[in-house]
C-alpha cells in the first residue's frame, strides 16, 4: 500500500517543514486526503511530489491554526561513522558549525526556509520543490538563491 511506501518521506517532510511533534497527525491527515483525492491525481505526474504537496499544505494549515510561526524543530543526529580519524577539537568545531548553520536556516523567512529545506534537506529537484510548494520553478530558484545568500551572510563570513 502507498502508505507503507511513502510514510517515511512524508513524515520527514512534515517534520522539516515545521509540524514538529504533530507530524504524525499531519501525515495521517495527508494520507486520508490523498486517498479521497486520488481521482484528481494526474496519472502522468509523479506521486511523491503530489503527496508531499498535500503534506506541505497540511503543515501550513496546522501552523496557521496555531497562530505561530512554523518551526524547524529538529536536532542533529550523530555524524555518519567512518569519516576517518579526526581530532576531537576538529569534530567539536564541525559540530558547532553545523548547529549554527541549522540555526541560520531556522531563522530564514518562511518562503526561503521552505525552499532551502526542500532542496537540500529533502533533496528534491527544483521541479519537485515547485510542485510541493505550489509555486513556479522560477520562484523556487529565486527563493533558494535568496536563502543561500542570507545563509552565507549569517554564517558564511567566518565559516566558509
Amino acid at each position: 500500500m502507498l502508505v507503507a511506501r511513502y510514510s517515511a518521506v512524508a513524515h520527514r517532510t512534515a517534520h522539516l517543514l515545521g509540524a514538529g511533534a504533530e507530524a504524525e497527525d499531519v501525515v495521517q491527515e495527508a494520507f486520508v486526503k490523498a486517498y479521497r483525492h486520488l481521482a484528481g491525481f494526474r496519472r502522468d505526474s509523479a506521486f511523491r511530489p503530489w503527496l508531499l504537496r498535500i503534506v506541505a499544505n497540511e503543515t501550513h494549515n496546522l501552523t496557521r491554526g496555531r497562530g505561530r510561526r512554523a518551526e524547524l524543530a529538529v536536532r542533529l543526529g550523530q555524524e555518519p561513522e567512518g569519516s576517518g580519524p579526526e581530532d576531537p577539537a576538529g569534530a567539536a568545531v564541525a559540530a558547532d558549525r553545523s548547529a549554527r548553520l541549522l540555526a541560520a536556516v531556522r531563522a530564514l523567512p518562511d518562503r526561503e526556509r521552505e525552499a532551502v529545506v526542500c532542496r537540500y534537506f529533502l533533496q528534491l529537484s527544483e521541479a519537485e520543490t515547485a510542485e510541493v510548494l505550489g509555486c513556479p520553478v522560477g520562484s523556487v530558484k529565486s527563493r533558494t538563491f535568496r536563502g543561500l545568500r542570507r545563509l552565507r551572510e549569517e554564517v558564511g563570513r567566518e565559516l566558509l
Binding site: A8, L76, L102, Y120, F121, L122, Q123
Partner: protein, 242 residues
C-alpha cells in the same frame, strides 16, 4: 576560502546537504497504515454512467498503446530522452545489443601535458584530488573536450552545455539522479553505448561501449566520469574536483 562575492554557492549547498543527512527525524509510527485504513470510508458504489467520453478515450488509448507496443516499429519508438549537461541519454525499452570494439580517438585528438591542455582550452580545467596525476591527458576537437585517463577511469571535461556533445543509448533502468558537490548529477550504473557528436556537426564517431558513468556540471563545464563501478566510489572521486 571565501572567494569573490558572486561566486557559486557550491560549498554552502554541499554543507546544507551534509547537514540534512545529519538531521534526526523520529521514525513514523508503525501502525500508520492501519490508522489511515481505519479512517477511510467504505468504497461507495459508483453512480457515474458507464460510458463517459473519458472512459471511451481511455479504452481507445489503451488499445493504441497495445498496438504500438506489439509492432516492432512501435517498440523501437518507445524511448525516453533525457538531456543533461551536454549529454543526450536515450533510454530504450528494448535496447539493441551493446556495441563492441575498442574506442576510436575523438576527432583531432592529441596527447598533451596537463599544462598544454590548460593553455589550449577556454574553460577552467579541473583536477581530481582523490586520484594521482593522470597517466594520459588528451585534447580533442579544437579544445572542446579534454580527457584524462587513469587505470580503469576516464574523465571527460567539455565546454558548452547547450548542444549535445555526447549521445548515450541504454536500456532500463532509467538513470539515477544524484548530487555531486551540491549540484544535480546523473548516474548510469550499467554498461551502455556512447557516441561523440563532433562540433562541426560531422558524422558521429562509431558508438563504443562505455562503463558506468557519472555526469554532472561544474559551472559551464560538463563533466563525465567513466569507470568507477559504484555511485559511492564515483562520488568520492567527483567530490574531489579542484
Amino acid at each position: 576560502m571565501n572567494s569573490s562575492e558572486n561566486n557559486s554557492f557550491d560549498d554552502l549547498e554541499a554543507e546544507l546537504l551534509a547537514l540534512g543527512a545529519m538531521i534526526d527525524v523520529p521514525p513514523p509510527p508503525a501502525d500508520l497504515a492501519a490508522t489511515v485504513r481505519a479512517r477511510l470510508p467504505e468504497p461507495v458504489p459508483s453512480r457515474r454512467p458507464r460510458w463517459t467520453a473519458r472512459r471511451i478515450a481511455a479504452v481507445l488509448a489503451a488499445f493504441l498503446v497495445v498496438l504500438v507496443a506489439a509492432t516492432p516499429q512501435g517498440r523501437a519508438a518507445v524511448v525516453s530522452v533525457l538531456r543533461f549537461a551536454g549529454v543526450q541519454i536515450n533510454v530504450e525499452e528494448q535496447p539493441g545489443p551493446l556495441p563492441t570494439g575498442l574506442p576510436s580517438p575523438l576527432p583531432g585528438e592529441r596527447r598533451v601535458t596537463l599544462e598544454q591542455a590548460r593553455a589550449q582550452v577556454t574553460f577552467p580545467l579541473a583536477t581530481l584530488a582523490a586520484l594521482p596525476a593522470p597517466d594520459d591527458v588528451r585534447v580533442a576537437d579544437g579544445g572542446r573536450v579534454v580527457s584524462m585517463f587513469w587505470p580503469g577511469v576516464r574523465l571527460d571535461q567539455y565546454h558548452g552545455m547547450l548542444t549535445d556533445i555526447w549521445r548515450k543509448e541504454l536500456g532500463p533502468p532509467f538513470p539515477e539522479s544524484t548530487f555531486v558537490n551540491g549540484v544535480t548529477g546523473v548516474w548510469i550504473p550499467r554498461q551502455h553505448g556512447l557516441e561523440y557528436l563532433p562540433a562541426g556537426g560531422g558524422p558521429p564517431q562509431p558508438m563504443r561501449l562505455a562503463g558506468p558513468t557519472l555526469i554532472w556540471q561544474r559551472g559551464q563545464v560538463g563533466m563525465r566520469l567513466e569507470g568507477p563501478p559504484t555511485l559511492a566510489e564515483a562520488r568520492v572521486i567527483a567530490d574531489s574536483v579542484r
